[in-house]
């Protein structure tokens, strides 16, 4: 995958943490545990692959563990294990930003560096953000507004888990942005596909059927956009009528783009996201950054990054995929 970069900006206060190796002991070597939302998730498969590659470059021991279900407390035991096995850093995409907080704070107090990626949590050193909330919203709204043109129309949003913090933030931002900049566009409904294929498919169906003048669906998660496109491809009557975009994996979307069901969709490179998370963790461990706004570090092939406000490290702007480039990516 090629780099899709641009640096984040701004600064803020990081969480100061002790430099002590922690009572849990463990080897002197640098190590990182990556905890995705759940095992068996394609998107995280890609990001964790990137994280593993970076860990390899950095000589860190890499471990990917995670629950099989996405219950609020299901990630907790893996955090505990990471603390105990003396991991130097944890990178986590939390299902429930609050429920894991207690144990993440515990980790931090033991000197474990905590990197949130994909989804922010309340208790971490830095948050490796795939794109700023505004960046995602602007990108997706722009794609949609360009397609709808001057007359605007009715659209709907198909999101993933109803409790996913990053998705909810994007959905809010998309709605705010549309209200502000595109008065002709109305958001008729927000539906939730729960990250489950068949549920997202049914919700897509529900949207297209229940909103007769629906012009477009914005689906800011990979399962939803794929299933919306899937439903569209199964249902010719809506083809050309409803336009779908969102954040999708090129490997999953390629067929639909090739067949013209979907014109364009956005994403960052999830492998780069994981890659950056590992480098951020390494920089934290080495003390290169503390999470303070303005700290800078170099993330391997991705180049230089600066920690922004609130300890956020932004991977880059949204990358837009279309017929011409969708085949170029492996994830």
């Amino acid at each position: 995958a090629t780099a899709l970069l641009l640096t984040g900006c701004a600064g803020g206060s990081g969480t100061a943490s002790s430099t002590d190796g922690g009572s849990a002991g463990g080897g002197g070597d640098s190590s990182i545990t990556v905890i995705p939302k759940s095992l068996g998730n394609k998107y995280f498969e890609a990001s964790d692959k990137g994280a593993a590659a970076a860990a390899d470059e950095l000589g860190m021991t890499f471990k990917e563990v995670g629950p099989t279900a996405t219950g609020s407390a299901d990630q907790v035991p893996f955090i505990q294990t990471a603390i105990q096995t003396g991991q130097k850093a944890i990178a986590i995409a939390a299902n429930d930003p609050t429920a894991v907080c207690n144990d993440l704070s515990q980790a931090q107090s033991q000197g474990v560096k905590v990197v949130a990626y994909d989804t922010d949590t309340d208790c971490r050193d830095v948050f490796v953000n795939q794109a700023t909330v505004d960046g995602v919203a602007e990108g997706l709204v722009k794609l949609t507004a360009d397609h709808l043109g001057d007359e605007g129309g009715t659209i709907a949003i198909l999101s993933g888990g109803a409790n996913a913090a990053n998705l909810n933030a994007w959905v809010d931002a998309i709605q705010a942005l549309i209200k502000k900049d595109h008065p002709k566009i109305t958001v008729a409904k927000v539906a939730y596909g729960d990250d489950v294929d068949e549920k997202a498919y049914q919700e897509a169906q529900g949207l297209m059927q229940s909103i007769p003048d629906l012009k477009a669906i914005i689906a800011p998660d990979t399962v939803s956009v794929k299933e919306a496109a899937h439903y569209l491809s199964d249902t010719p009557e809506y083809q050309g009528k409803v336009w779908v975009t969102g954040l999708g994996l090129p490997s999953e979307m390629k067929d639909y783009v090739d067949s013209g069901i979907v014109e364009q969709f956005g994403l960052w490179n999830p492998e780069d996201l994981g890659y950056l998370a590992s480098y951020a963790a390494d920089a934290l461990i080495k003390g290169d950054i503390t999470g303070k706004e303005g700290d800078t570090f170099t993330a391997g092939k991705l180049g230089d990054y600066t920690v922004g406000a609130d300890g956020e490290i932004v991977l880059g702007p949204l990358f837009v995929f279309n017929k011409d480039n969708v085949g170029d990516f492996s994830f």
């Binding site: 759940s38 095992l39 068996g40 998730n41 394609k42 995280f44 498969e45 964790d48 099989t68 279900a69 109803a162 539906a191 939730y192 489950v196 294929d197 068949e198 498919y201 049914q202 919700e203 169906q205 529900g206 297209m208 059927q209 229940s210 007769p212 794929k226 299933e227 899937h230 439903y231 199964d234 249902t235 010719p236 009557e237 809506y238 490997s251 999953e252 390629k254 067929d255």
Partner: protein
Amino acid sequence: MSVTHTVPPIETGRSGLQKLLRARESGLVVLIVALIAVTAAIQPTFLFSDGGWRELLRQPTILILIALGEAIVIITRNIDLSIGSILCLSTYTSGWLFANVEGIPIVLVVLIGVALGAFLGLINGLLVAFLRVPSLVITLGTLYAYRGIAILWIGPHFIRSSWLPPEFRALGTMQWVGIPVLLLLVLIVVLIVGWFMTSRRAGRDLYALGSNPEAAKLFGLSERRLTLNAFVTSGALAGLGGLVYLSIYATGDARVGTGYELEAVAAAVVGGVAIVGGSGTIWGVALGAFFLATISSALPVLGVPSLWQQAIVGIFIVGAILLDRVLFLSRTRRAKRKGSES
């Protein structure tokens, strides 16, 4: 039924029984029609559009299949909690075969998927029938074990739609005189299973076992063989459900089918299968599954937030078993009254 009345009109037990039995299925049909009618009145595309029509008929197929299997097991006084995990293994195995065995015939994959389900069901059946341990515990154990195997094997991988041969994917959307081919196939399965359970001695034996195990023993029925048959059938139908899943959603990972077991039990119970075994029709189960699946697709269209969907399904399940009990009691009371009159 109009049989020649050479016999003077006799006790009227039939009208009571038959009517009530029919009330279950016709009641469900009425409910389904009403649900569709109301939904379509509010949102015509729910019914009067190609996509709406297709999904209406296509989405219940998976639940119908697994509910049939569950019903057969319940009819013999057992329960199968492992079907969700079996379905998952069948889905992924089938997708994996398409991806890894160049040019494998679709029919062969279908057979392997079903056979895998049957094999996993056989393990359940052997444990239950030969060790005489409660099926609830055994299938709870295999619910975990099979799911664990699925996750262990599949890991983060998933079935990509490009793995599947185009003909197989087409099966998902193919229609025949306006009816999804998948539904037709499932209807054929319903007919076969229904025919077997209502019209073959071997099927009736399953009812007999659940209805009165003691009498079944006095009668010379083999409890082991029947239990085994029920679990194998349930597994095979879950395997088939996995293939239908694959053809509809063209994807699949280690999480497919989570929680399906309770949905299947619910569909069977709503369809009129008594949890204590011995009664309930396959037609009722198919309708019960269709009904529950249609609620799931109709509620969002009706403007009910999908987050409330499960609560409404829960009300229907509790309501259905309550209704069943009330009908049963009135039936027994009526029968008793007749008995004491005669």
